[in-house]
């Protein structure tokens, strides 16, 4: 249990910059997810928190203690690694007991705590096995077990479930979240999978190329992305982006594209006009916020042509060509026609995002 403060932290590898001027405060008992593509600096950040890498400049505090110069063992953290990093020559029990043994915990106390952790993680029948005899999911539980046998100040997770198969991953998401609530321990969870971030975290820090892009709750990140990168990174299928121009017409501010014209609301128009937006800009709209009907003579506004349909069981994703650009639409499954067939598309203008075409910064 601790508050973690990352203050003006930079990380360089030689001349390569990995983390740029990072400021982040992680509340006591918070589940913070650092989300970003590979090479965005998220793992470097986590490793600096763990003490496995030096901080090039800046400070890290656990509560009020500056930990920059403390080795991992003195930081009171527990880390779960992407490749589990179990001790291959030790049994599951010995793996989990190791952190306690190093702290000279009495033997019966070790026994009690390891058994308790094993029960929580449902690996108690496996305690006598070696890591080679375990499946991926069991190894990962053992690695988590090794972290939770003691009560560290901070849990650090480095893509712990990235190597599991999809079904087990979705199961573990729920378990990890539950476990974190149960243990009430400050947690930093690094992942490239936006779904993990969205479903588990209290707050998400999205990083890209070493720079913190946005910090917020999953809801804020999803509904009010601060720039084009965040908007495109979060959400599945990803947001559609279309280059458009802005025109002042008699019905107000209008977004003009080769395939359609959309009138913005007054509120949206005021956000744009006050910000010095240029005539050329990029709009973004999530596949869920587009409606579609098959055939050329439906009631929706924009004509399009079906490129391909991808049924997903209950839902389907339809890729549609509108005025030379392609967009994805998510809809309930139903008869839709095949490639080349006409259809009509409707925009939920309230859910529209507008980005600066050069900087990618979101106006709304």
């Amino acid at each position: 249990m601790a508050t973690v403060t990352i203050s003006d932290v930079w990380k360089y590898y030689g001349k390569t910059m990995a983390v740029k001027e990072l400021n982040l405060e992680i509340q006591n008992n918070e589940f913070m997810c650092i989300l970003g593509p590979s090479g965005c600096g998220k793992s470097s950040t986590l490793r600096m928190l763990a003490g496995l890498e030096f901080i090039s400049s800046g400070d890290i505090y656990f509560d009020d203690v500056r930990v920059n110069d403390l080795p991992p063992r003195d930081r009171d953290i527990a880390m779960v690694f992407e490749n589990y990093a179990l001790y291959p020559h030790k049994t599951v029990y010995e793996n989990m007991a190791n952190p306690l043994k190093l702290r000279r915990t009495p033997k019966d106390e070790i026994e009690r705590r390891v058994r308790r952790a094993a029960e929580i993680l449902e690996i108690d029948p496996l305690l006598g096995r070696k890591p080679v005899e375990l499946s991926g999911g069991q190894k990962q539980r053992t690695a988590i077990g090794r972290a939770i046998v003691r009560e560290p100040k901070v849990f650090l997770f480095d893509e712990p479930i990235a190597h599991l198969d999809a079904k087990l991953r979705s199961h573990m998401r729920g378990e990890l979240k539950h476990l974190q609530r149960d243990l009430e321990t400050t947690t930093v969870y690094v992942t490239h999978d936006q779904l993990e971030g969205m479903s588990m975290a209290d707050r998400i820090a999205v990083m890209h190329e070493g720079v913190l892009q946005q910090l917020g709750t999953p809801e804020e990140i999803y509904n009010r992305p601060s720039n084009e990168f965040v908007a495109g990174f979060v959400g599945e299928p990803p947001m559609n982006f279309l280059d458009c121009t802005l025109e002042q017409t008699n019905v107000g501010l209008t977004v003009v594209h080769a395939g359609f014209r959309l009138s913005l609301s007054e509120e949206q128009a005021s956000l744009l006009s006050g910000s010095g937006a240029e005539a050329n800009m990029r709009i973004g709209i999530r596949p869920d916020n587009l409606a579609i009907e098959p055939g050329a003579d439906g009631t929706l506004d924009v004509p399009g042509e079906i490129f391909v349909t991808e049924p997903l069981g209950g839902d389907m994703i339809v890729e549609v060509t509108i005025g030379g650009d392609r967009v994805m639409v998510k809809t309930k499954i139903g008869p839709m026609g095949g490639p080349g067939d006409p259809c009509r598309i409707g925009f939920d203008v309230d859910k529209l995002h507008v980005f600066d075409i050069n900087t990618g910064v979101a106006y709304f």
Binding site: A50, G51, L52, P71, P72, R73, I77, A78, M79, F81, N83, A85, L86, Y87, P88, H89, N98, P99, L102, R103, A143, R146, L156
Partner: protein, 292 residues
């Protein structure tokens, strides 16, 4: 795991090759085992029996080789008159001592070279192995001068040091390969668990145990079989088995029986060592090579 079956189809050529390879194996078996066999058998014969050989080509008369009364006199003589007990002890101390020093220093150096990145690392590694490129004879004279002025000639520590100079580069190279194959994440996990760097290093030692085991054998064998260092640096106070055996060849009388017995005394411990860690040796020598 993928099937490792080697598919073979019958063909005339294959049958011929198979026949030839069996012939070769028989020949090879006789070639390697016969000298050992003669050595062991002769060590139990007295001098007269030892030269009872059948006429060349007279296969029916092979029996004379086995027609003798076994005697242990050569062994008794070796250990009573020739002090082979002391030489056996010297050999053991020199080879095991050098192995111990080489492995402990070598594993630390190999670990450092495996984990740390620094400028000139490749050059350093090359320099380390290049010390093994010169033949022993070439460095013997300067080495002798150094050892003599340090008072190390004729002492066991001197011999251990001499073997270590030759074993250590080898140790570093072999063991580095083993450490390279141990993921660094394991040590990182250990540090997060609460280990110091040193404790983390010790924690992964069991993971390179096959390498250590294999390497100890190679080190021991080098010291055990060495003749050149032993005659020059070890001469006098630190005489080892090979040197003592050679001294049994005297100008007036070559003591075949005792030489054979000395050969057995020299061979048997190493055979036991080989049997003891045979499993490790194979696993160890191949494990460093293939990344899983």
């Amino acid at each position: 795991m993928a099937s490792r079956e080697i598919v073979r189809y019958r063909s005339p050529l294959r049958s011929v090759l198979q026949g030839l390879s069996i012939l070769f194996l028989i020949f090879f078996f006789v070639w390697t085992v016969l000298p050992l066999f003669i050595m062991v058998v002769s060590s139990f014969k007295d001098l007269l029996d030892a030269f009872q050989l059948p006429e060349p080509g007279d296969w029916g008369d092979l029996g004379v080789m086995f027609d003798f009364k076994p005697t242990g006199t050569h062994y008794v003589e070796l250990f009573t008159e020739k002090h082979f007990g002391t030489y056996l002890r010297n050999s053991l101390i020199a080879s095991l001592g050098s192995a111990a020093v080489s492995v402990s220093l070598g594993s630390m150096a190999a670990y450092a070279l495996s984990r740390a990145e620094f400028r000139g690392k490749r050059d350093l590694l090359f320099w380390i192995i290049s010390t093994r490129m010169a033949p022993v004879v070439a460095v013997m004279v300067p080495l002798y001068v150094i050892f003599r002025s340090s008072g190390l000639v004729g002492t066991l520590p001197g011999l251990i040091l001499a073997y270590t100079t030759f074993n250590l580069p080898f140790a570093i190279w072999i063991l580095k390969g083993f450490f390279d194959n141990v993921p660094y994440a394991i040590e990182e996990a250990a540090q997060c668990d609460g280990c110091t760097r040193w404790q983390a290093f010790r924690l992964i030692i069991p993971l390179v145990a096959p390498g250590l085991g294999a390497f100890i054998v190679l080190c021991v064998l080098f010291g055990w079989n060495d003749f050149l260092f032993a005659t020059i640096i070890g001469s006098g106070g630190a005489k080892t088995l090979p040197v003592a055996t050679a001294e049994l060849v005297q100008p007036v009388k070559i003591q075949w029986g005792m030489i054979m017995a000395a050969g057995v005394v020299t061979t048997v411990p190493m055979m036991f060592l080989g049997l003891l860690i045979r499993r490790y040796l194979v696993a160890g020598l191949t494990m460093g090579a293939v990344r899983e």
